[in-house]
Amino acid sequence: MSGTRDDILGRLRRQLGRTDATRAEAQARVEAVLAARQCGPRAPSDALVERFIERARAMLSTVERCPAESEVPAFCARWLAAQSLPLDLVVAPPFAHLDWAGAGLRMRVGAADGDDRVGVTGCFRAIAETGTLMLRSGVDMPPVNSLLPETHIAIVPVARIVADMEAAWADARSEWGNAGGAEGGQGWPRAVNFVSGPSRTADIEQVIVLGAHGPFRVHLLVVG
Amino acid sequence: MRPSIAFAAIRLLESAGYTVVVPDTQTCCGQPGYNAGDRAAARALARKLIAEFESFPHVVAPSGSCAGTVKVHYAELFADDPAWRARAEALAEKTFELTQFLVDVAGVSTVPGTFSGSVTYHDCCSGLRELGVKAQPRALMDSLPGVRRVEMRDCEECCGFGGLFSVKYPDISGAIVQRKCESIRGSGAYAVALGDLGCMMNIEGRLRRSGDELTEVIHIAELLAGPAGEGG
């Protein structure tokens, strides 16, 4: 096993003409690149909320603005009823405290299974450049809730909308600990999923069909 | 094949105030060998051409692919030969496709052509993608009062010639040029103008074979220069 590893790395070194000196240089270059975290050309950072909503709609998410988190259940209930969707939800733990029953919704808290029809999640960040949700996995954030149910509702506080992925990664590093160095914060999650609208495919005759394997619809409540 | 093209190019250059010299010993830039993988042959012909042309202030070819070979590929051919590489680069600097030279270097905005009718322009691959020839032929066409320029769909798509490709894979080449002919006919233009002899023979040959005797296929130099005058 390690034989193959060493063979491959050895061959790469030969092809590159590595010597001890150039190897040390290469290691220094690699460390410098990792430390510099150079960004390429980036997205504009103004009018974030408007841009996020416009781009999310372009990716076929539906979007509503909701004045306060406490009103989220009522907004969900109204939207689900209008779409003739079931009023049973599986809700990620951070939103368990909202008054779902008061809005006429049945819900359970936890991770979705194959039978749940509507999943509710928050988001770690939302990215204005592409109208994208950035979701992390974790004890209180099961990725299946945005994946298995046919309908995904995401709660997006305006304060979490950032310009682009680079901005989101900067926040991630400060909350989760430096991905490249020593652990700090709450640790780097197993999965970071970027979600831009409902699942889709165009494999047959290049015709876009929604609901390939993931949700058929993604509804965003932009709160605040 | 079509000496009238070269004479048309000469007329255009002369009417722009230049003296045109055609070296007696000039043959071929070596592109066929280069593209066939025969590097030795291509290098030999490149050396010959460089020696023949490097003393002139400007080198102009009425062909995007010949100009492209000199301008883009000669330097690579001599990647391992600094002396020749420098000469190749110096020549590349002053080598141009005809319409590129007329517009970008000579600043020509009017030409003597007298063509009358609708014309569509096919962007030959080398001229377009190696040299950036796109606006220049169109600007000169637009300066002709009788020419109504119409764009075909996919005007930048290859005609399927590809030099030896059209001989080695005639079926594929035939299917590609068929699409080009359909685009040309779809434009409704009376004539198609272009800047490379190979593409011209390919397109004209396919149009005629498919029964189209009407669509004129005309080299951009001839379109812009008009018919040869007395002794011209």
């Binding site: 050309p41 490249g180 197993r190 | 094949m1 000039q26 030999a44 390919n202």
Partner: protein, 476 residues
Amino acid sequence: MEIRSMHFVERVRQRLDDDELQRNLKRTRGRNAASRAAAVAAFPDFDAVRQRATEIRRSVLRDLDVWLERFEAKATERGATVLWARDGEHACELIADIAKRHGVRTVVKSKSMVSEEAGLNAALEAAGVRPVETDLGEYILQINDNEPPSHIIMPVIHKSKEQVSELFARVHGTPPKTDIEALTHEARAVLRPEFLGADMGLSGGNFLIAETGSVAIVTNEGNGRLCTTLPRVHVALTGIEKVIPTLEDLSTLLRILPRSATGQALTNYVSMLTGPKHAGDPDGPEHMYFVLVDGGRADLLGSEFEDMLRCIRCGACMNHCPVYQTVGGHAYGWVYPGPMGSVLTPLYQGLEKAKDLPHAATLCNQCGVVCPVSIPLPELMRRLREKQVECGLRPWSERLALRAWAWVAGRPKLYALASRVGVRYLRWLAGGRDRIQVMGLAPGWTAQRDFPAPAAQTFRELHAARQAAKRQGGAR
């Protein structure tokens, strides 16, 4: 996958004669190119991003040994196991071992071209493990007797909905449907229980991120997420060239990959997976493996073909290739079709097994212009042509003809004479008409089109006469 590229010419002939295939190709021809063009036009920084993306990939290759060590260290620290495979066959053995170790009976797969290179499905079946392709296109191919893909990101671009309908009716035992939405949802319904019941998920990897030891997977369907979330074991199978340094680099490359591929600003899903599930996580695999395959890649590093290792598998080159658009992907005879395949196939499988591929291109450079990481594809095809000449792989008739041409072109007087003779011969063939319809020297040419008859005299003859006349005129 077994290579059939040596039969390129016959394969092309069959496909040009296949009316159904030609109809299918025509249906989608130019569509991806148009989507890409619109996406690029709507994105002002595209060229700058392309430059940066090229730089990122180039800088990784320069220090690929160190980047891979760095990736391995980080991935291992995060609890994943990194395995190395010298080629596809070895990768199959490693994956079959993993399956055995974890008692795996069913593997759900999201799209992986390296898995096609390796012929993984057949190897898994031989090991008693059932592979299930879950990308809609790949699934269609798998149930159609393991047909190979014809495009690297749109595997069934060569099929019509009627063909899919007939296949589904036959395999699923359902009534035929020609509504594409209904067909898609039928596949969803068939595959959902497979996701829920599978023991292992196998994915490819669009990028390996050295900073975090993660794999990034780009999909639209969501099958990539399902394969890497539900089963107990996740194996990411990729080539060793896929490493990138940082999350910032991932962000840059994600601006250019979907736009180049389908014209999307971003795919629906981008998943970045780092190690197995953490204590307390409600979902995620318990074991995560990386299988990093060489398969000919190491040999390209530092060679005249190194540029090819920058490839991010977007498919733009084939979407813009007049040849691919005419013959479809299967004609090329191995995993990768189009321009990138015409370079990779001979390099990974042997020059002599894919002699036609580097020649079956007009060198129009559409591919080079659209490549998001600036790979000079026509230049690489031309270098492969040179390699063939160096290795004596070209037919003697072609060599002789080129030698003769070069010899004559090096001798101006002879060249002028040959041109005069040639012109007269062609005019004789034309027999007074303006065209030649059958030409013995290039029968292929005149099978497809006429050869316009040349003018009576060469430019050289006429020019000499005019110069002489001018001189006389000047003397008078």
